[in-house]
């Protein structure tokens, strides 16, 4: 593998709250190649969104972020001289869940795209407008000249998400983080939006991180998948490899809980228990109390994410 676009080593995020320190992310390490789509999958509360916000530097002040290395295109983003604020939106960009609330309700959508363009370089008013209309056309919005002047409430959810994507891509970033981009959209719109993201990634040779709770969606659109549980990466594998040879009991549970066209509702399994409370002392394996394969040695030493052949790694003492 060539030099990765993004490489993260031992990223930890703690939230200081009144009821104690919440260890939201622990020992998160992964890398992302140029042109690759990486899926990050996990249930609600597993730390997926916090990871994306931490990468974008959008977390609140009460978040303590430490990392051995966060390197993006040869630039160090972890150090005190991180240029994140100036490259954010230009080099790395993000689309948010719930597109309707991610657009300013009282600003014309075209003006919002112009705003991003004008923040990142000297662009004249007329050029910015032309670029904004071109950006709308690129995400296949019909009649972009007219949509330029629309307010978010005049557009459908799928249309808003396309505007969001147009906005995120307006400065041609090299990394796009999509945080549950299809939540709240119906299934057909979901496919249209995802196809659009995939096509744009391929056209522009950028990389993307797709954050989702939908394993089937990630399997279809991603090159590699990272499975997260309670702030740990529990398994990393190429998408096809993960589907056929998952090794972590949690991944197995996720697959069992993913409905397919053939499964009947009563056969749909759920994963027992819930996420551990991240405030107190945690066992080395955060899946311990939900796992049906646990052994006494799961509770002793910390369990590292270790390779089990090829590009496949797992954080488990007794993988499947």
């Amino acid at each position: 593998m060539s030099v990765p676009l993004l490489s993260v080593k031992n990223l930890n995020v703690d939230f200081r709250t009144r009821s104690g320190t919440v260890k939201v992310l622990n020992d998160v390490s992964f890398s992302l190649a140029k042109g690759e789509i990486l899926g990050i999958v996990g249930e609600s509360g597993s730390g997926k969104s916090v990871l994306s916000y931490a990468l974008m530097g959008l977390l609140d002040d009460n978040a303590a972020i430490t990392a051995d290395r966060v390197e993006f295109g040869g630039i160090d983003l972890a150090g005190p001289t991180s240029p994140l604020a100036s490259i954010r939106g230009r080099e790395l960009s993000m689309i948010f869940q719930s597109p309707r609330t991610a657009l300013n309700p009282i600003m014309r959508v075209g003006r919002q795209i112009e705003d991003v363009l004008r923040r990142h370089g000297p662009v004249s008013r007329a050029n910015a407008k032309a670029a904004a209309i071109a950006a709308l056309a690129r995400v296949r919005i019909p009649d972009p000249e007219r949509r330029y002047a629309a307010y978010p409430f005049e557009l459908s959810g799928g249309m808003c998400q396309r505007v969001m994507i147009a906005m995120a891509l307006s400065c041609s970033p090299s990394l796009l983080i999509a945080d549950e981009p299809t939540t709240g959209l119906d299934v057909t719109t979901q496919a249209v939006v995802m196809d659009l993201i995939r096509d744009l990634v391929q056209e522009t040779r950028m990389s993307a991180i797709l954050i989702t709770h939908d394993l089937a969606l990630a399997g279809e659109y991603c090159d590699r998948i990272v499975v997260m549980h309670a702030g740990h990466i529990v398994e990393v594998a190429p998408a096809s490899e993960l589907q056929s040879h998952f090794a972590h009991p949690y991944t197995k549970g996720l697959f069992a809980a993913t409905p397919t066209a053939e499964t009947e509702l009563e056969h749909l399994a759920s994963i027992p228990g819930s996420l551990p409370d991240l405030r107190g002392e945690l066992p080395p394996c955060r899946f311990l109390y939900r796992c049906d394969r646990r052994q006494p040695d799961c509770q002793t030493a910390p369990i590292p994410l270790r390779p089990i052949g090829g590009d496949h790694s797992v954080r488990c003492r007794h993988p499947l």
């Binding site: 959008l58 939106g89 993000m94 991610a102 657009l103 300013n104 009282i106 919002q112 002047a149």
Partner: protein, 291 residues
Amino acid sequence: MAETTSSNMQASTFWRDARHKAGENKLTLAAALILLLFVLVSLLAPWLVPYDPLAVEPAAALKAPSLAHPFGTDALGRDILSRVAIATRLDIGMAIGAVVLSFVFGTATGAIAGYFGGWTDAIIGRFMDTIMAFPLFVLAMGIVAALGNSIENIVLATAIINLPFYSRFARSEVNVRRNMTFVEAARMGGNRPFRLLAFHIVPNILPTMMVQGSLNLGWAILNAAGLSFIGLGVRAPTPEWGIMVSEGASYIFSGEWWTFVFPGAALVITVFCFNLIGDGLRDIIDPRRRT
């Protein structure tokens, strides 16, 4: 081209909606019409009034309302109708001036406090609390007494005692919006804090702030007139409703009721209209707050 058609559509739906709600709420409509009349009077009074409001005519002192003097005359024989009409501009002008001042500075300080939080919020918040710790009218009296009797100082005093209401309101409105996704998105888009506030957050809270402002106008007029009534503020010969009520008050027992009833009524009707319009505006802008 596309932009104009869309904004015309936007505007026409807004006005249709406004008309519909005004039609529903006849009281707001009536208040708006009366206020419009007052505003016209305030603009055109110098050309409309039958007498010079300052012309003293001892022979005609304390005359009851008649055809020559519809509102009667005061102790110096000045025509009360002319004085009430001329005073409209000063009274409404002072109120608007004060409200604009407190609106601008209150929104700015409140938005900064609500967005940055922490020490900024604490300092601005305690400053506003200090203003509110005084009985507000007494504070206004103190300010005018200290700075001197002038129209500017009445406006300033009225603006200062209103400041905390705008500031607190803006603070809470900004505070609930600062972590909304569209703000995160704008931040990601490269907006620095002050730009984010000025161009993305504050425009979103303006409608509710405007309602607060229009409700506040009536109160500001009362405050300005009240200061003149107790002898602080506008000086004697100037026609001003507060002073006229104050001068007429000495005739309450001798029965020359017209000296204080007409300026008083002008004051009451104006305040009433401002409040009704404020309520109506709230309904037009935000149907959820309909009372």
